[in-house]
């Protein structure tokens, strides 16, 4: 085949593919602005007849959506901050400090990646119940405080940093914590940004653990609240779509602005193997 028709064909396929990929998201946004009942008509409407903001207003005024937004932001923000500090500390030790048992210990951690998280859920729940942490922010945050994958990612990146910079600080008399804090962390900035986005989005989108550990409506994160809302308002399609938009919007914007960092994280974790 000639390059020219082939080129057209490829663009045609990609164009159709792109449209199909966008349809669910576009319809979600469009239906969220439809007046009640319009999304449940035959034939289906693609665009709202008149722009209605009522469902968004409803979500905030009657259905405490603001509360869930705050919960989600608080939980995802805390997990991101805490895990960034804890993971980068461990990665510093694994990449830049010499100590007995370093390699076996790291291999042991990596082996932990093979264990699916579900295996830990039931005892973890019982443990947190015992500690009185069920239905608290701490309960949602705790399992995300440290992550093997996060340690791995920073460690991989840290190997590429020259030891001479750290040694120079040590010769100047800086203690290890100062070296970590004022030399190592700034050098790791790119990978920390990547990991921060990963963690924030992962926690924001997480469903199963918050579903298990949060029992009280007022504590719900957005995905749990949305699933719960579906139980009561399955018929209010337009309202549900507005809820879906608000759940998806923050992470989508975050991705669109910072996608360079996000994509780098995937390829770092993915192709290095």
């Amino acid at each position: 085949m000639n390059a020219r028709p082939l080129q057209l064909l490829i663009h045609l396929v990609l164009g159709v593919w792109l449209a199909l990929t966008l349809v669910p998201l576009v319809w979600m946004v469009s239906a969220s602005f439809m007046p009640s009942g319009q999304a449940s008509q035959y034939p289906p409407h693609l665009l709202p007849g008149e722009l209605s903001l009522g469902h968004y207003a409803d979500l905030f005024s009657r259905l405490q959506l603001g509360r869930y937004l705050i919960n989600s932001t608080l939980v995802a923000g805390s997990v991101t901050l805490i895990s960034l500090v804890i993971n980068s500390m461990a990665a510093y030790a694994f990449a830049k400090l010499r100590f007995g048992g370093r390699e076996p210990l790291f291999r042991l951690l990596l082996a932990g990646l093979l264990i699916p998280a579900q295996v830990a859920l039931l005892p973890l729940f019982l443990m947190l119940k015992h500690l009185g942490l069920v239905n608290t922010y701490a309960g949602v945050i705790i399992p995300g405080m440290a992550s093997i994958f996060g340690i791995f990612l920073i460690r991989q990146y840290a190997f590429s940093l020259p030891d001479s910079l750290l040694d120079a600080a040590r010769v100047d008399g800086a203690g290890e914590f100062l070296v970590y804090w004022s030399v190592f962390l700034p050098l790791c900035r790119p990978i920390l940004v990547t990991l921060a986005i990963f963690t924030f989005m992962g926690t924001w989108n997480d469903f199963m653990w918050p579903l298990i550990v949060l029992t009280d409506d007022a504590m719900y994160t957005l995905p749990v609240a949305l699933a719960n809302l579906l139980g009561e308002h399955a018929q209010d399609v337009e309202l549900m779509m507005a809820g879906a938009v608000l759940t998806v919007l923050p992470v989508t914007l975050l991705f669109l602005f910072l996608q360079k960092y996000y994509i780098r994280g995937i390829t770092l974790g993915g192709v290095k193997e």
Binding site: A90, P123, I266
Partner: protein, 303 residues
């Protein structure tokens, strides 16, 4: 001389001490909130922990392998296993094939606006699974859903996607493929970019056409990426939960009941936590076996 040796020695010792200071938070968190629960989970699966034990631990009894015996005679467990395997065996390869196709198309030197396609194809990955599952629930509506409307144009349907036991799992697979293909696509694109152009040139000098280049250069060079993607995808797909939870609740007639959903229902709805723990360990063993099998296969295929 002696002085320097002892100084290095001191430095080594103080580094080791510092190392533990940096490690303790992560190791403690992972030990207490992951390792200990995993081991306790195994013990839990050997008990009859239920709602009575939840109220008073005196009701807890050690039952040996009873939960596992019970499980292997539980038709719902086998239904869940069958459904999960269906999702993994059909959805996994399908989603990898779609990812690879997208990567190959986008990486074609003929394509303009690569960045746009890449970003849009990736968009579903970053969206919240629960939210898009809610959206797809309505797209699948037999009368008002856009999907059946689309099929109508081609003279097909209507299909009761989520109401018909034969279609519910395919519907969930379709959503999963749409949601996930962008992720593996990115990994494949990176893999494709790392193939040296010189290999293609050499192949062309040998008279290889597009297809032959694909078969003899692209595919073999992508093999490590392929293995990585396959393992990651299958592990992820075995953990199917939110899609059926939101879209079907495991129905109709348990047609989309997955292993993790069964574990959730048994453990957190009926509080049969000993039994649920056994379910989770069977899942773990299956995932581990599949992962090791693939690594072994790769060892056999690449001398």
């Amino acid at each position: 001389m002696r002085h320097t040796a002892s100084a290095t020695h001191d430095l080594g010792r103080s580094q080791a001490r510092a190392a533990w200071f940096f490690l303790v938070p992560a190791l403690a968190a992972i030990a207490v909130f992951f390792a200990v629960p995993v081991v306790s989970g195994l013990l839990l699966s050997l008990t009859d922990f239920d709602i009575y034990a939840l109220a008073d631990l005196d009701n807890l009894r050690f039952v040996g392998l009873d939960n596992y015996r019970h499980l292997f005679h539980d038709p719902r467990f086998w239904t869940a296993m069958k459904n999960t395997l269906y999702f993994v065996v059909v959805g996994g390869p399908l989603s990898i094939a779609v990812s690879l196709s997208a990567a190959l198309l986008i990486q074609s030197p003929l394509v303009a606006l690569k960045g746009l396609f890449q970003t849009v194809f990736f968009l579903p990955v970053v969206t919240t699974l629960v939210a898009v599952a809610v959206v797809w629930r309505f797209l699948y509506h037999p009368a008002y859903g856009l999907l059946n409307r689309g099929l109508e144009w081609f003279g097909l349907g209507p299909i009761d996607w989520l109401g018909d036991p034969a279609w519910a799992m395919p519907a969930i697979i379709l959503l999963a493929v749409w949601k996930n293909f962008g992720y593996n696509m990115i990994i494949f694109i990176a893999g494709l970019q790392s193939i040296p152009e010189s290999l293609y040139e050499a192949a062309r000098l040998d008279g290889a056409g597009r297809w032959a280049q694909f078969l003899h250069v692209t595919l073999p060079m992508l093999a490590p990426t392929f293995l990585f993607v396959t393992i990651l995808t299958l592990i992820g797909y075995f953990q199917l939960f939110a899609e059926p939870y939101v879209m079907t609740g495991g129905g109709p007639a348990d047609a989309t009941l997955s292993i993790v959903l069964l574990m959730y229902e048994e453990g957190f709805r009926w509080w049969n936590m000993g039994y649920a723990a056994a379910v989770s360990f069977v899942l773990f063993v299956v995932i581990l076996a599949v992962t090791l099998l693939q690594l072994r296969l790769r060892g056999l295929l690449t001398p």
